[in-house]
């Protein structure tokens, strides 16, 4: 193994050697490594190219904050995941990773020409340059820009993995398993509270895993973390979720967690989901998300080899990796001293520690430790620039005089530069929960202020400094949270020691920046390639609000959400505009905290499980006969039953003629059904539907129309009176749920005087419509206990008996214009009855027909379909069904609405029939009706086609249309405007077939 790997120590397993490839080259690492730590152990810092300028980039951090090292992990052609942070990719044997956004290779990237062109690619470049002509954006400018800028490439094959989802509830959710989070979880769990502890990393422990000398209760910090986690894992009401990111804080303490289950495994079990989306409802939330170290702003701060001091310490102490051999350290906080001491002890040469803090802030424990280790310290220093090509080679240091003047001092060769600009509390979740943030001048950072939910931020995410203080803060909050859920708790106490980072920091640019040489870039937002000059330009161009500057420069946007850049951008803008950071304000933190896959959001809702697939009793029978289905809401309805090689038109013609000439059968089970029961059932329906129901005798049915109170048609259906106090209401298939809800609304909140209840019976009954002149002959063979003769069972009559020995509720009703029956049986018998009717009908050549033929048959009769021939703005009169209205009723829903002037005005669109002059032409539904052909554009439109079919029975096309003053235009020739030429049509009655209705009453 490479000389960069330490001989011992850390959390890796040196007995498990793993092989992986990066950009086609094979490397070795250990179990417990991340891709980033393993590459660093192999001396690889260059891991990516930047978003806009294609600059070579190395790894900056060691965790979720990583803005540079975005890679694609390529398991296979379908499992090809772009834009993963190398710092979060756990190594497994055989892992294949690739850098992104470079061509032909990471070390030689043609796109780097953008870096040379960068004077021409400033902030707002797109907005300024590609504005005109507007139409050119999609075709001319966007494709090459998207190709040149951007990140990884999404896979094109369907995702073969499974994703799970889970609802969970707890008393206390603790987000983050560092010292504060562990202490909080322990405090709450020992009190008996139901606790969920989640952490985004593979191993819980947070910063404790990066400590070398820190101790808690006499144990090394990492050992204490292990022991504490073991205690928690043994508790029944505690759930530990490693590899789980709390990505979003939703109202009422609903937290979204994304758990990565198999991503780290070389050979995932096929039974394991790849990820799981948790929706956690927590009574109390403890946010212990820690803090993220800030880069320093100086030219060349994005070179590979320039990284955060805390990250270098993590790589050393947690992963056993020396990030280089000779380091320069730029110290804006004590974190840099802790790193320097640890790295020096591991044999890394420390060329210099440049203390960039104000001189009066320097004399802390960090400096003392560095002095004790005999490390070379430059106080009142600054970094003028880092130089190098694909890796840092040298650092130019300067000194800052008491008057602020900067003078160059020395140039130091090095292969890493570690920087610490102080720590930014991770307030994302608190902010997402609509909690307030306040700028703390002492800390130089925004910290959580008033909460909006039942949450508590603890530890360094609220600016608490140091190990001991974080443990105490977490313990107190954990105990308080448990107590708030009824589990009286006391905070455990801990004795801890560590070299803490302190509260120093250097937000914004280092002092020399104003004097820096123009072509050098100091990056603020590494992921979005935003430099200090972009921010300065935005200011010069008049952007004052930080929200505007964010959008103009893109700083802090996208997946990064300003984790490393936010406060530096604010600090720079504040200095430029002579304001304090607190006055500049803060941009909104968006969820997700880190990217969440689409798979995790979709969960189980894919393919056949995206929505319920509702099937009727004839479904399997239809499948076996090659029937073709259509989706109606969630229902699968048979559209047509092709015979042999029939296409839809041939099948529909045959099905229609089968009904008209003999008999057909149709599965009408999806119709909504509601049983309305109570002594006031008739009065309720009188008020609800337009019709008069008091006059309907038991054993009879009637076509009902439902309006909304605005007077427009809402639903329709046949309603049968089963008894004085019991009605069987049918609704449209799509309207069942909303009509039911509307009935409940009026019963519960408007007409509380009525004694009436409703029950959905849609799925209680299976319904077969048997329609055609031979319908009676078919049913006579099967039905017992009902006299089917026309006098005993006239049109719209209802009778009860048996069919095939099964209880039968028989409606004599027709939606085809032929003699018709609807056979209602309890649904478990629907399949049996369907097949029995089919068998009995063979001697009459019975034709199973689908929704398409049903539509043609009803259109031939001018029967409307609500939602197709009406559009939510049609009155009963517009739809030619005003005859149904009970004129003498004092009120019904919509009665007053119909009196509105606009609904009675002339010129309303009325439903009429259209006959094309050429009978072969079938109009397009939705096409516009116009008075004259070949008008200048825009045409004056007076209506539109609502239904249009070829009618086999009539041997020509037919159509229904809503046309202004349509009924006054009978016989007129109008036109239907089409791109291929305007089609002449004649306005006719909407009843095309058997206008006298003789065929129904036989």
């Amino acid at each position: 193994m490479s000389a960069l790997r330490t001989a011992a120590g850390g959390r890796i397993d040196r007995t498990q050697r793993l092989t992986f490839t990066f950009d086609g080259r094979r490397y070795q690492g250990f179990a417990g490594d991340t891709l980033a730590s393993a590459l660093l152990a192999n001396g690889v810092h260059l891991m990516g190219r930047s978003f806009k300028y294609h600059r070579p980039r190395g790894v900056l951090g060691a965790g979720a904050e990583e803005p540079n090292a975005l890679v694609t992990v390529n398991r296979d052609i379908a499992r090809h995941t772009p834009n993963l942070r190398a710092t979060q990719v756990e190594l497994y044997d055989g892992l294949v990773a690739e850098s992104q956004h470079r061509w032909p290779s990471l070390t030689f990237d043609v796109g780097a020409i953008n870096n040379l062109l960068s004077p021409f690619l400033p902030a707002g470049f797109y907005n300024k340059t590609f504005m005109w002509p507007r139409s050119a954006w999609h075709k001319v400018w966007e494709p090459p820009i998207r190709a040149a800028a951007g990140l990884g490439v999404a896979p094109t094959l369907p995702d073969p993995d499974r994703y799970a989802q889970q609802f969970a509830h707890c008393d206390v959710l603790v987000v983050g398993a560092g010292p504060a989070g562990l202490a909080a979880a322990l405090a709450a769990a020992t009190a008996g509270a139901r606790v969920i502890l989640c952490d985004e990393q593979a191993e819980m422990g947070g910063s404790l895993l990066s400590e070398r000398d820190a101790t808690i209760d006499g144990q090394p910090a990492a050992a204490w973390a292990d022991a504490t986690l073991a205690r928690l894992a043994a508790m029944k009401r505690v759930r530990l979720l490693p590899r789980t990111t709390a990505f979003g804080y939703f109202p009422h303490n609903n937290i979204g967690l994304s758990e990565r289950i198999t991503e780290h495994l070389a050979q995932p079990s096929p039974s394991a989901p790849r990820e799981r989306m948790w929706q956690v409802r927590a009574h109390e939330v403890v946010i212990a998300t820690g803090a993220i170290e800030r880069p320093l702003l100086f030219p060349g701060n994005d070179l590979p080899g320039v990284m955060l001091a805390s990250a270098a310490r993590t790589y050393l102490n947690r992963y056993g990796v020396r990030v280089g051999t000779r380091a320069v350290i730029a110290a804006g906080s004590d974190s840099a001293f802790a790193a320097a001491v640890d790295l020096a002890a591991a044999g890394i040469q420390i060329a210099a520690i440049a203390d960039v803090r104000a001189p009066n802030a320097v004399d802390g424990p960090g400096l003392a430790a560095a002095r004790a280790a005999g490390l070379p310290i430059r106080s009142s220093a600054t970094v003028l620039a880092a130089t190098g090509k694909l890796r840092i080679a040298a650092v130019k240091l300067g000194s800052v005089a008491s008057n602020g003047n900067v003078s160059p001092t020395e140039t130091l060769a090095c292969d890493v530069l570690l920087m610490s600009g102080g720590f930014t509390p991770s307030v994302h979740l608190h902010s997402q929960s609509r909690g307030k943030l306040a700028f703390n001048e002492e800390l130089g950072a925004f910290v959580p202020a008033a909460t909006a939910e039942r949450s508590r931020s603890v530890g360094s995410c609220r600016g608490i400094n140091g190990l001991a203080a974080s443990l105490e803060d977490g313990a107190v909050a954990g105990a308080a949270a448990a107590t708030a859920t009824g589990h009286a708790a006391t905070a455990p106490r801990f004795v801890a020691s560590a070299l803490d980072a302190g509260i120093d920091g250097v937000p914004g640019a280092l002092p020399q920046l104003a004097a820096a040489i123009p072509p050098a870039k100091a990056f603020v937002d590494f992921q979005n390639d935003v430099t200090t000059r972009d921010l300065a330009l935005a200011r010069r161009e008049g952007f004052e609000s930080i929200e505007h500057i964010k959008r103009y420069t893109t700083t802090g946007m996208a997946t990064d959400q300003g984790k490393t850049s936010g406060l530096n951008a604010l600090g720079f803008v504040a200095a430029e505009s002579d304001r304090r950071i607190g006055e500049v304000g803060l941009t909104t933190y968006r969820m997700p905290y880190t990217p969440v896959t689409f798979g995790a959001f979709a969960g189980f809702a894919r393919g056949d499980q995206f929505d319920p697939v509702r099937k009727t009793p004839s479904h399997d029978w239809t499948v076996a006969r090659g029937g073709v289905f259509e989706d109606v809401g969630m229902w699968k309805r048979t559209r047509f039953f092709p015979l042999g090689r029939e296409d839809m038109h041939a099948a529909v013609d045959r099905e229609c003629l089968g009904v008209r000439n003999s008999v057909g059968m149709f599965d009408a089970s999806t119709l909504g059904k509601i049983e309305v029961v109570g002594k006031d059932a008739a009065e309720f329906l009188n008020r609800f539907y337009v019709n008069n129901w008091s006059s309907l005798a038991p054993g009879r049915s009637r076509y009902g129309i439902l309006l909304r109170d605005d007077g427009f048609v809402y639903d329709d259906g046949v309603i049968g009176r089963l008894a004085a106090d019991r009605f069987h209401v049918t609704t449209t298939t799509g309207g069942a749920a909303r009509v039911f809800g509307m009935m409940e609304d009026y019963i519960q909140t408007e007409w509380t005087d009525l004694s009436v209840w409703i029950t959905s019976t849609t799925e209680q009954w299976s319904v077969v419509a048997v329609q055609g002149p031979r319908a009676r002959d078919v049913l006579t063979k099967l039905v017992t206990g009902i006299d089917l003769s026309p006098t005993a069972l006239p049109h719209m009559a209802i009778a009860h008996g048996e069919i095939c020995g099964i209880p039968l509720m028989l409606f004599r009703v027709s939606f085809s214009g032929e003699l018709g029956f609807e056979v209602n049986v309890p649904a478990d018998y629907g399949t049996l009855v369907w097949e029995a009717i089919h068998d009995a009908g063979q001697e009459f050549g019975i034709t199973p027909y689908g929704t398409e033929a049903m539509h043609v048959l009803r259109a031939e009769k001018g029967y409307i379909i609500v939602g197709q021939d009406t559009d939510g703005t049609m009155t009963p009169d517009d739809a030619a069904v005003a005859w149904a209205i009970g004129k003498t009723k004092p009120d019904f829903i919509g009665k007053r609405g119909l009196e509105r002037p606009a609904l009675k005005a002339a010129g309303r669109k009325q439903l009429v029939g259209l006959q094309t002059v050429d009978p072969k032409v079938v109009l397009e539904e939705g096409a516009q009706v116009v008075v004259t052909a070949n008008q200048p554009v825009p045409y004056v439109m007076i209506g539109y086609v609502t239904s249009s079919y070829h009618s086999a029975a009539l041997g020509r096309s037919i159509a229904l249309a809503a046309v202004a003053d349509g009924r006054a235009r009978m016989g007129e020739i109008l036109y239907v405007a089409m791109p291929g030429g305007d089609i002449p049509v004649k306005i006719v009655s909407p009843v095309f077939y058997d206008p006298q209705g003789a065929r129904i009453n036989v």
């Binding site: 109202p251 009422h252 609903n254 809800g741 609304d745 519960q748 609405g897 509105r900």
Partner: protein
């Protein structure tokens, strides 16, 4: 996902509920006597309150009941729920969390 305190079933998750718009919009007792303007206001004119708003909910996939709620539209916090037909409760000064 909000938690809504059904007056019949207690606190339950939002997917069980259907929102029913502004509360306490009474349908005129005798619509035939309503002027066009009154009817228009009944049909269409609704408040879009910033702050505490009385609104209807139905525990549609629970007990099925309609009820009313006072919700702060700026925070999504419910201040009270109460049965249909009841008057909205008087809130303590300064509201509640």
């Amino acid at each position: 996902m909000l938690i809504i305190d059904c007056p019949y079933c207690g606190p339950r998750p939002e997917p069980e509920f259907a929102h029913g718009g502004q509360a306490h919009v009474a349908r005129p007792a005798d619509p035939s006597q309503a002027t066009d303007q009154e009817w228009l206001e009944f049909l269409y004119l609704r408040h879009n309150t910033r702050g505490v708003f009385a609104e209807r909910w139905r525990h549609a996939r629970g007990c099925g009941r309609f009820f009313n709620a006072l919700r702060d539209t700026t925070t999504d916090h419910f201040l009270a729920t109460y049965r249909a037909g009841e008057k909205p409760p008087v809130l303590p000064a300064g509201g509640a969390r």
